[in-house]
């Protein structure tokens, strides 16, 4: 095989992997604290992208637009918890999970009303140029995607490992009852988890928009992709989700370069299936916590 | 149809019975059984013979591998080494539900009644083993399934009345006291018409009056031909009704004798029966093999 293809495959795989990991992390945070699968996660991504585009087109500098969009997405995460999940806290987790679908539909409907159906795009952050590398190309925005994902992941590990709030969140995830007995408010931590997940979704939306475009309807596909990354890697560990995202990205890249055109998506999914069947709880997961 | 059912069941029971009258008299036999989890050996080369019709009690300190032993027999845990024979059938190669169909039923320490069903339904689940109506015949309510369902209901009620809980038949498990839950767990196991009943700490959490009642019940079951293998922390109660006592420590068999013999051995009394269990709970690590 041509060297340029191998190189391009690697670049594409990492790039897609970072996107999927960023999408999957939101699921991880909410699921580990509340045991709810937030099927509205993709809507945060959509909002992150849409809002960034909106502010940017109003003349706000790109980084500031991104920041404001991400903050709003985070707040919406809080709204989802306060308005939907918290009132239903006595219902089963499955029911709460499906309530998030209702929320997703509502957000999508409102987005359609506000922004219409058109696709929107953003220029590459700070106009980063494309890099040509031995026949392969790194598209300008890609380093941003990889870099910001890395930054977010590092930030998350620092947050969980070295801050009081992060440790409290982790305690809730590991043992809700125990956390309660030592005086951690599980409800408050759940709220934080949703806000954090909203923020992460917003960031993901903002950084991928220059690559993929954004419209009101991208939420559900994003949810599915993120969910897959989370499931493959093991939804109970952040490292698992990142690895899952990478596996998914690489699988798609391998498929695109080796498999006859038209069967790409199936091949990537079959790899996932194999992962599931061999490693039922995901590639990395703490035992006994599915 | 009913006759047919009874006839089929008779055949089933007689088939079991034949197995039970083995030449060597062994009913349940464990040969050189070991199991380890990683480096931890929970059961260490245990040989054991249980005779038909006996009440056998396994006693020993915490972590001695008692519960593990029961789960090995009922097939919930795989052996690392050794063989388990029940009525000349090898148990350690077959799945738990198959073992159950051979006449071995286990009652867990925490009972685990199905909270999504009434007590009666719980006991009816026990009848699963000797019935065979599948999806099609139950869904279509074929005569066979209908007759079976009637039989199941009657049998379940009869088991409930045997343990004295017929009045609570339709209550959800959550509405029952702990001792009632334990007894209904027993009724559920009995509904499977077992030959060998594995009881995990049947006396755990019961009050004195309830203990006496349970002992009576167990003796009655023994008279009815059911062999009982129990694991018990409360050694006094166990020794009172058992014919055979096995002492297990750190996964190894320390003693296996009639209660009277155990009670005459001062060392055993001092170590395992007097509450002075100084080495109990200490985990035994197998030497690197």
């Amino acid at each position: 095989m041509d060297l340029s293809i191998v190189l391009q495959f690697f670049i594409s795989g990492v790039n897609l992997g970072c996107i999927y990991a960023a999408l999957g992390l939101g699921f991880f945070i909410i699921y580990s604290v509340t045991r709810v699968l937030n099927l509205a996660q993709g809507e945060f991504v959509m909002l992150g992208g849409m809002l960034t585009v909106t502010f940017y087109s109003m003349g706000v500098p790109i980084l500031l637009s991104t920041l404001v969009a991400v903050v709003i997405a985070g707040l919406l995460g809080g709204v989802l918890y306060r308005g939907v999940i918290h009132p239903a806290r006595n219902l089963s987790k499955a029911t709460q999970t499906f309530l998030t679908v209702g929320f997703a539909f509502a957000i999508e409907g409102i987005a359609l009303l506000i922004w219409g159906w058109e696709y929107r795009s953003l220029p590459n952050f700070l106009g980063t140029p494309n890099i040509h590398l031995g026949g392969a190309t790194i598209i300008g925005q890609t380093p941003w995607v990889t870099g910001i994902t890395l930054l977010v992941v590092t930030g998350l590990f620092f947050f969980f490992g070295h801050t009081i709030q992060g440790k409290a969140l982790r305690a809730c995830a590991d043992n809700p009852l125990g956390a309660k007995t030592i005086g951690i408010s599980v409800e408050r931590m759940s709220l934080y988890a949703f806000i954090l997940a909203g923020t992460l979704g917003g960031i993901a939306g903002a950084i991928i928009t220059p690559l993929t475009m954004v419209s009101y309807s991208i939420g559900f596909p994003m949810t599915i992709k993120g969910l897959l990354a989370a499931f493959v890697g093991g939804i109970t560990r952040a490292e698992g989700v990142i690895l899952g995202g990478m596996v998914l990205g690489m699988a798609e890249a391998i498929a695109a370069s080796l498999i006859p055109s038209g069967y790409h998506s199936i091949f990537a999914l079959i790899i996932l299936m194999a992962v599931f069947l061999c490693q039922p709880r995901g590639l990395l997961s703490s035992p006994g916590k599915t | 149809m009913r006759d047919y059912l009874n006839w089929a069941k008779d055949i089933l029971i007689s088939a079991r019975g034949q197995g039970g009258e083995a030449r060597d008299g062994s009913f349940l036999e464990l040969k050189n059984v070991s199991v380890s989890f990683g480096r931890l050996t929970a059961v260490d080369q245990v040989n054991l013979v249980i005779r038909q019709g006996d009440i056998a009690a396994i006693i020993g300190p915490n972590g001695a591998g008692k519960t593990t032993m029961l789960k090995l027999i009922s097939g919930l845990l795989p052996l690392s080494q050794g063989e388990i024979w029940f009525k000349q059938r090898r148990l350690d190669k077959i799945s738990p539900h198959h073992i159950a169909s051979l006449g071995v039923t286990q009652v867990f320490q925490d009972i685990q009644l199905f909270s999504n069903m009434s007590i009666l339904e719980n006991v009816m689940v026990g009848c699963h083993v000797w019935t065979d109506a599948g999806f099609l015949s139950t869904g279509l309510k074929l005569p066979h399934a209908k007759a079976e369902e009637k039989e199941i209901m009657e049998r379940a009620m009869s088991k409930l009345s045997l343990v004295g809980l017929e009045q609570k038949a339709l209550a959800p498990p959550a509405n029952l006291s702990w001792s009632e839950q334990k007894i209904s767990g027993l009724a559920r196991a009995l509904a499977a018409e077992p030959d060998l009943l594995l009881l995990d700490e049947p006396y755990g959490g019961l009050m004195t009056s309830e203990i006496e009642k349970l002992s009576q019940l167990l003796l009655k079951l023994q008279q009815g031909g059911i062999t009982i293998l129990m694991v018990e922390q409360r050694t006094d109660e166990a020794l009172e009704i058992a014919n055979q006592v096995i002492i297990l420590d750190s996964g190894a068999k320390v003693a296996d004798a009639a209660p009277s013999e155990i009670q005459s051995n001062e060392h055993l009394i001092a170590t395992y029966l007097g509450g002075r269990i100084t080495e109990g709970g200490k985990l035994h690590y197998a030497a690197s093999e």
Partner: protein
Amino acid sequence: MKRIAILLLVFIIAIGGTVSCASPSAEKSYKIGALTSQTGKYSGLGLQTLEGIQVIVEDINEKGGINGIPLELVPCDDKSSTTGVTLGAKKLIEVEKVDVILHGSTTALAQSTMPVADEGKTPAILLSGTALFDDQLGKWCFRPMGSEEDYVISFFQYLNEDLGITRVAALLENSGFGQGFEFFMPGIASKYNIEVVMTQHFDPTATDLTLQMTDIKNSNAQALVIWGSGPAGALAVKQARDMGINSPITASFAQGSPDMVKAFGAYYEMSPSLIVPASKTDIWQELPEDDSDKAMCQDFASLFLEKSDPPHPANFYNVLGAQMMLFVVDSLKRAQPDPTNVEKARSELRDALESTENLNLLTAVYTLSPEDHYGSVMQKIMLITFKDGGKILVPR
């Protein structure tokens, strides 16, 4: 259980109630059912089509209707799903008692309209991208919308005759849209002495096409044909240029839609600039003075600019929507059915639609017959390209 049973009962009665409430409006008007995708996957397509229909209806009504009878537009959402189409079509036929259904969405959904229209004996005009099922339209359905074949021809003719290209790579969407194109491509390519050296596919939701591009770059193709219905096709153009593919690229009209141009205009204008098909309305200013359609296209363009809200130039789907409506208006004018007798009106309208002859519309001239419910005689497809933020005719 009891609760459930009672709820079900109430529910049935509620449905029964809506049936008795729904009465056809008494006023005298032609009711036009516009069954389009307003929500869901194809909402972009459906909403643009609906906009085109609305503009024409408004215009006709302002001019006093058809022989004094106003048009009444009944929009209905098919939710981008086959069940939505069936429900919507039945609702329009049965409850709203429309005279004709205009269906604006994708191919697979258009197919679902056909049995309902046949059963309800109501004429239906289908907008769909593919000519693959033209022989199965049945008695009541019409599809005067052109065929992918015409686009394939326009592309390959241009590539061969104008640019002298003999080797082409194709990058097609993994959808009905791409499938139709692929169906016609081999035959037409060989007709123009072009070899399709590589056919790659992409998902409608794809975000990274760099791998396909690497393959295409490594092939010896002299030009690239991209055929997609949504943003992935436009992304493909962007990424091709990002990857340094400098050969001519032709893409579908969807890639020429205003939002895509707004997002990727800079890439479209990179030399050689992107070539897409367009309707004459799109570039009426560019048409030569002797073009007989210039006046018609100019009129429609200014009408649309005036009526649309917010005002914007008509795009390809706006034009197709408007054309569907104009097609019906022509038949209504000829048949002059009595709007109070719906069943008779439907049947008369159907006959009139079928006998359409030499009807000069925005994208083609139509002559239909009982055997041919498609009827396009001459496709007025223009190839355009992008320059200085605007669209120009491809210099030939």
